[in-house]
Symmetry: C2
């Protein structure tokens, strides 16, 4: 992509009300734009990163045998009457259609997925079933904040699993922990699995995935002896607030998984007959990752003072190619073509009217893993200057080697 | 994909209230499920086809130089106060959030895209700009009907273009006609460009893309002399209802494009300075394709009595592989692996408990372009039996040739 053709621009100043790194940098770099508190547009650079996170999550979910669908965002009220959640979910947005039909805007989708799976899975042979979607969710948060970390409208992967035995449920639940940890690793984050309260659904623990960072709003408690992690709620419930026993870390929650037991299957009379004709309860689990929240978390954890630092799998482009000076533009043009031919995704800053300083600042702000600079100085030094955005290391590559080296660097780089 | 693992199933009976081919076949085959009138879930098979149509539209829009973004579905009321459309759009769903903030659910996005582009395009050098999204739209239709043809919630590509001269606008408008016709062609449809009223936006014509079919609800009027097409509204407005002059055809509308002139840029005081410091008005166009509606239209136009007939670019799978009998399963298993290795997308009916009749019926219903049958009879005849879903032609391929032949057939097939 030629930077000169992109309709968004970086901004010198962050929005006045930015309350977090992700709100500041994502807006300044033109990845997102706020429309209202907690409500964001995703612009070309931001949408590329969002889609890459989506693709990682999709791959990891598919690998567990789950099947992707999309469910509507308009949920008829009658479904919530069955579960008693119309009044209980305090963040539900509601709307009314013709014929006075009332709908909730999807905040999760248990009320839709349960009868949907029920309509197909009517024999014990049809189990287990795992189904997910990546769809907007709406939550009327009294206080939307922290950029795309806590939105009123956000993109979420929600997966629901259906089982006939506790063992089968638990095996899938453990498999999902693994899948979640793979997702975070590929996004450049080290996540910790912390036990959390099961809420209204179960007396068992649910689990949160937390990334330790000073920017976090949550606290996790790590047992100094066993290494087990708990969220604050569990610690308080268990009255375990023995601070010597636990190491306390600030953290951001980047996902959670819940045992739902039979809370929703009972609400919809979803049972099946066993081979012996016995009535079996359907056991459910649900598993969420806020895709846009995860994108914001990557910024919070990895950004430095100059801007964002994207791991290669989620960077909007692999290489940020910068040409300084008119004479160097032809060299850069041909390198741009060669890098793309080699399968690399390149953001090419071909602006004629931007200063060298502005171009380099923008490259740091946008945060692609590799910056390649074609300048008079670099050509005199024998080629192009490369810089690793994450480590800050830099050097000179021969012009003839640059494509191969860039490709190699992206393979090797471990974040 | 193994059919035995798919959580959806075909149904013998269509939903009782199916009022159209697409409502009937898509539900029966497990592509979609209705949640409420005009509100549908897209199940694994249906989502694959929807995503393929999306990908075609994306390619064709990108080829015009347009850039993809996503805009929020929650639109603050204040934006509609600026354009006067809060009351004027009679199909707006509205909702209220904390602090009594009112939002409309996106029915289109002029109110969001205009100030968004305005915030970046502040020099004449920044034009033209073309931006699009593929997002859910919500319309509180008093009478949702015809399956996914006219929904209350549906997937739409909406593109907006911004220009400084009428010539530049018109050139892009014509370029979009071409892009739209490419989309329909790749989806197996012959679309006709029909002049339509400009509505409240302009005294010029807008244009609709219509596919002639007996299942259509619209009528288009084709001038017998010039070949020009008009919709009913234009004919009535012009009092041209001379039926001898026009050939009248029933048709489905599968897209439309509108000159917006300065209707929205004026509402947001969006002007820019020319090189000479003169104030220039920004001229806009908007361009819509209902992605889910287009999927329904393909069914209406191409389905036969036995089920759906998907063109290869939008079929959920290229090949529907059917194994009959236990002994033939091993041959089919190895063919399944080989077809996939060759890059073909295969739906493999590996069910042990379905009758041959049910399997063949399901293959016709689902409508993948090529069916390959491995049966005792086909093996005795020297290989596998192939069938072209569209033409109905069939024959025998040697087992060793089947992969190559299937791949070749998909390349050659012209729909």
């Amino acid at each position: 992509m030629r930077y000169s053709k992109m309709f968004t621009k970086t901004r010198k100043e962050a929005p006045a009300d930015s309350d977090s790194k992700n709100a500041r940098f994502l807006a300044q770099a033109g990845f997102v734009q706020q429309l209202a508190a907690g409500v964001y547009s995703f612009l070309p650079l931001g949408l590329r990163t969002l889609r890459k996170i989506e693709a990682i999550v999709r791959e990891e979910m598919d690998a567990t045998g789950a099947q992707e669908i999309t469910m509507p965002l308009l949920h008829p009220k009658a479904l919530y009457d069955a579960t008693g959640r119309w009044e209980k979910i305090d963040v539900l947005f509601k709307t009314e259609g013709s014929g006075s039909k009332e709908y909730a805007l999807s905040s999760t989708a248990e009320e839709v997925i349960t009868p949907l799976v029920q309509s197909f899975a009517n024999s014990y042979k049809d189990f287990p079933v795992a189904v997910y979607q990546m769809r907007d969710k709406f939550r009327n948060e009294p206080r939307a904040k922290s950029g795309i970390l806590r939105g009123r409208e956000f993109l979420m992967k929600d997966l629901y699993s259906f089982h006939l035995t506790e063992e089968d449920f638990l095996a899938y639940y453990e498999r999902m922990k693994e899948a979640y940890l793979n997702v975070y690793k590929r996004c450049g984050l080290d996540a910790i699995v912390a036990a959390a309260s099961g809420g209204v659904f179960t007396e068992k623990h649910s689990h949160e995935f937390q990334v330790a960072t000073e920017a976090g709003e949550d606290h996790i408690y790590i047992d100094r002896e066993t290494g087990e992690a708990f969220n604050k709620e569990v610690i308080e419930e268990a009255d375990h607030a023995n601070e010597e026993k636990y190491e306390i870390k600030k953290a951001i929650e980047v996902g959670n998984i819940f045992p739902l037991e039979c809370r929703f299957s009972h609400a919809f009379d979803f049972t099946v007959n066993s081979a012996e004709g016995k009535n079996i309860d359907v056991i459910m689990g649900c598993y969420g990752i806020g895709i846009s929240r995860l994108m914001g978390s990557i910024v919070e954890v990895l950004a430095d003072d100059d801007g964002m630092v994207w791991p290669k799998e989620v960077a909007p482009y692999h290489v940020h190619l910068v040409a300084l000076g008119e004479d160097e533009m032809a060299q850069a043009e041909s390198l741009y073509a060669d890098l793309q031919d080699a399968g690399l995704e390149v953001l090419f800053d071909d602006r004629a009217d931007a200063s060298p300083g502005a171009k380099l600042k923008d490259a740091d702000l946008i945060g692609c893993p590799v910056r390649i600079l074609v300048s008079k100085k670099s050509l005199e030094a024998g080629g192009v200057e490369w810089k690793d955005r994450s480590s800050g290391e830099s050097g000179i590559w021969d012009l003839g080697e640059a494509v191969e080296r860039a490709a190699q660097m992206l393979v090797e780089e471990n974040v």
